[in-house]
């Protein structure tokens, strides 16, 4: 096998020997003020950098945890020549992700050797709320690695919906890495370091970068805005409600298997181009009718508060909120559609411009759900003819399965696949 074991082992050793930050981080005991005190340079450090999200746990991080400002989504094709190399590659991803998310110090190596870390974050790697969420695409479960019998029951290759214009080069993939952190440099460093020990196991298929709008009020609960100027995420289910999350997100023991999928969730990613020049030429009232909300406050039309119930029951003819408004079609708020709800955790993207000189901006739509067919796909089919379709074009993405989290530092995401 050709995986660079030496590099991988060297890194693990470096982290184990680093002490301080890394060791305390692994136990999750160190508060943010202590983390700063333990830093060799307490002054001149952005305070948020010490914020740490545990890597190990029942659920993978980056799903229920708050979405920090920056993200990169990396789709990988498995090129490992055999099953063992694939397993070692996945093991290396988890191991390196754990080090980076929990913080570590880079030991000084012999000057003749390439440094074990690129050094773009300095010699002390602060966690910066970094999460690395690892998920698998349907193609991983073909005949290459003998995993065909282990494919999650609800995992398919995303088929285009009407009005999609999917670019095959920006779709699907064997493994999806969702990398989120507070700062862009943390995300970029993580992408670079994660790929280094797994070059012979995985090849880049596509990537997309995302960002969050700042919290601009008026209240701490106010949702952030998307490229259309509307608040996004208002209708999300409460991630603090464990019973609800078990109903809407987590694959349970009673669900179609296989057994290794218990505790995981299906991840939908859709790169949705938003034609912002066109949108900016639409009257405000028409924009609000397409969405179903007031642009400024985010309140449902006819309401005053963002989180107010839209009360479709008293508006059966759509005189207040049009029957084909986005919020009304996506979540009709009926008993029948209650189990269709999804957890959205999207990011805005901006990646230059197209051949016609139009800004290439949009939404990295990310949703977690327990059953893609019952939830995301059902909602998406209902949205097929919403008036907003003229202003958006889904261009990429795919369906993935994010397995349960890791038990401890010896475990790795996907270990259940090979057990």
């Amino acid at each position: 096998m050709s995986l660079d074991r030496r590099t991988f082992l060297l890194r693990s050793a470096a982290t184990l020997g680093a002490g301080g930050l890394a060791e305390a981080g692994a136990h999750g005991l160190l508060g943010s003020s202590e983390a700063r005190a333990a830093s060799p340079a307490a002054g001149g450090i952005d305070p948020g950098l010490s914020s740490r999200v545990p890597f190990d746990g029942d659920r993978q991080a980056g799903i229920l945890t708050p979405a920090p400002e920056q993200a990169t989504f990396v789709s990988l094709d498995a090129i490992a020549p055999d099953r063992a190399t694939l397993a070692i590659g996945l093991q290396a991803l988890s191991s390196r992700a754990r080090e980076l998310t929990q913080g570590s110090s880079i030991p000084v190596q012999e000057v003749d050797d390439p440094p074990v870390d690129s050094g773009t974050l300095g010699t002390t790697i602060a966690p910066d709320a970094l999460t690395v969420t690892i998920a698998f695409g349907a193609s991983l479960f073909d005949d290459r690695y003998g995993l065909a019998g282990r494919r999650p029951a609800g995992l398919t290759t995303m088929a285009p919906f009407p009005h999609d214009d999917l670019d095959p080069a920006r779709c699907h993939g064997d493994v999806l890495l969702q990398i989120c952190a507070g700062r862009r440099d943390t995300v970029v460093h993580t992408v670079r370091e994660l790929l280094r020990p797994v070059r012979s196991a995985f090849a880049l298929r596509w990537t997309i970068d995302g960002f969050q709008g700042a919290h601009r009020g008026p209240s701490a609960r106010s949702s952030r805005r998307n490229h259309f100027g509307f608040r996004d995420g208002t209708g999300n289910p409460d991630v603090g409600d464990d019973a609800l999350m078990r109903r809407l997100l987590w694959v349970g023991d009673g669900d179609p298997g296989p057994a290794w999928t218990t505790g995981g969730t299906y991840q939908v990613l859709r790169a949705i181009r938003m034609h912002v020049e066109f949108w900016d030429r639409v009257g405000l009232r028409e924009q609000e009718n397409m969405i179903g909300r007031t642009r400024d406050s985010g309140a449902p039309l006819g309401g005053t508060d963002e989180y107010e119930d839209p009360h479709y029951d008293v508006d059966p003819k759509g005189e207040r909120i049009p029957l084909d408004a986005h919020i009304r079609l996506s979540n009709p708020r009926t008993a029948k559609t209650d189990d269709e709800r999804i957890l959205r955790r999207g990011y805005g993207y901006h990646r230059g411009f197209d051949e016609a000189g139009q800004l290439d901006m949009g939404l990295v739509f990310v949703a977690f759900n327990r059953d893609v067919e019952r939830q995301f796909a059902t909602i998406q089919r209902r949205l097929a003819d919403e008036p907003m379709i003229d202003y958006i074009t889904p261009v990429g993405g795919g369906y993935f399965f994010a397995p349960r989290g890791t038990r401890d530092a010896a475990d790795w995401v996907g270990s259940g696949l090979f057990a």
Binding site: F278, D354, G357
Partner: protein, 341 residues
């Protein structure tokens, strides 16, 4: 659905300034600069709003809670629906004539495919596509017939091999990628049948005033989103020709609406200026490429940029049209509490 009244945007102003500097717009450049005062908004006094005995201006004044006859008046003076009768009749006749011409193009396409003449088939295909785009304003109202004639493979599970991928672009895909011409004959025959239906539909299609006013800018919005980006006709590269055809359709729609737009605020002037600008840029491109529409990939970067920018400025101007042609006042949105009572 309603739109607010137009605002003259910075982009339009820049376009106007350039037009005046270039002196290339004939008599149209002056009209857009004179922003009509609120009291000068046209009233069409003889017409009444459907369901009322009031003129459009009286209804607007009432809505704005202004005493009738006292200025300044609201700019929101809706047009009676009947004002669209003649423009729509004129447009339907135009669209029908385009569909008739397209039938001939498609017949020539099928004949060229049957005798194995790829060059003639490509020329006939381009003519048919040009005709369909010149029909412009109708396609939003054509639904499944539009998908059959002008559908693209993006949203289909099988992509270019999907059995539902048909019409102009299915033939384009084969014609420019070296498919045996005989394999395209069935698609051309099917297209001919769809165009026969189109000839009838184009003359009778129901279009609301709002849809028609909206089409004035959506035809070219599609040109910018789908054509100049290379998405719509990727194999033939016919984006520049397609943009010119879309401009022709827009000119026709605006021409039919001109009696309504004259004297209604400041929307028409900038549109005429910017349409002339785009026509000028397209003509210059055609001249520079030996008198024929160049494929998108043959455009020089500066040509592409100028086309994109001029089209963008025209679209900013066209965005003011729907708001100038409202037939109803924007309805007041009831509150949740009001509905709950």
């Amino acid at each position: 659905m309603t739109r607010p009244l137009p605002r003259t945007s910075a982009g339009v102003l820049l376009g106007l300034t350039l037009a005046v500097l270039a002196g290339g717009c004939g008599g149209t450049s002056g009209t857009g600069r004179s922003r009509a005062s609120a009291t000068a908004v046209s009233t069409h006094p003889a017409m009444t709003i459907a369901g009322t005995h009031a003129s459009a201006q009286e209804v607007a004044d009432a809505a704005a809670q202004k005493p009738t006859g006292a200025g300044p008046r609201s700019e929101l003076s809706p047009l009676p629906t009947s004002a669209f009768t003649r423009p729509l009749a004129r447009y339907r006749a135009y669209a029908g004539a385009q569909a008739d011409a397209m039938q001939g193009d498609v017949a020539r396409l099928a004949a060229a495919l049957r005798r194995g003449d790829r060059t003639a088939a490509q020329a006939a295909w381009l003519a048919a596509y040009d005709r369909y785009l010149r029909l412009g304003a109708a396609y939003g109202a054509l639904g499944a017939l539009d998908d059959a004639i002008d559908g693209t493979p993006g949203g289909l599970p099988g992509g270019v091999t999907d059995p539902h991928f048909s019409g102009l672009h299915r033939i384009e895909y084969g014609l420019w990628r070296g498919a045996p011409l005989a394999t395209l004959v069935p698609w051309a025959d099917r297209l001919a049948r769809d165009v026969t239906r189109l000839r009838g539909v184009a003359r009778t299609v129901a279009i609301t005033p709002l849809e028609y006013a909206t089409r004035a800018h959506e035809i070219l919005e599609d040109a910018q989103r789908d054509m100049l980006s290379g998405r719509a006709a990727p194999w033939s590269g016919a984006a520049v020709m397609a943009t010119a055809a879309s401009l022709a359709a827009t000119e026709e729609v605006i021409g039919t609406l001109r009696p309504l737009l004259d004297g209604r605020g400041d929307a028409l002037g900038p549109v005429q200026v910017e349409m002339a600008q785009l026509a000028g840029v397209l003509a210059a491109v055609r001249r520079a490429h030996g008198g024929a529409w160049p494929p998108l990939t043959a455009l020089r970067p500066d040509e592409h940029e100028r086309l994109d920018g001029t089209l963008g400025a025209l679209l900013e101007a066209l965005a003011g049209i729907p708001g100038s042609l409202e037939t109803t006042l924007p309805p007041t949105i009831p509150t949740i509490a009001q509905q709950a009572r």
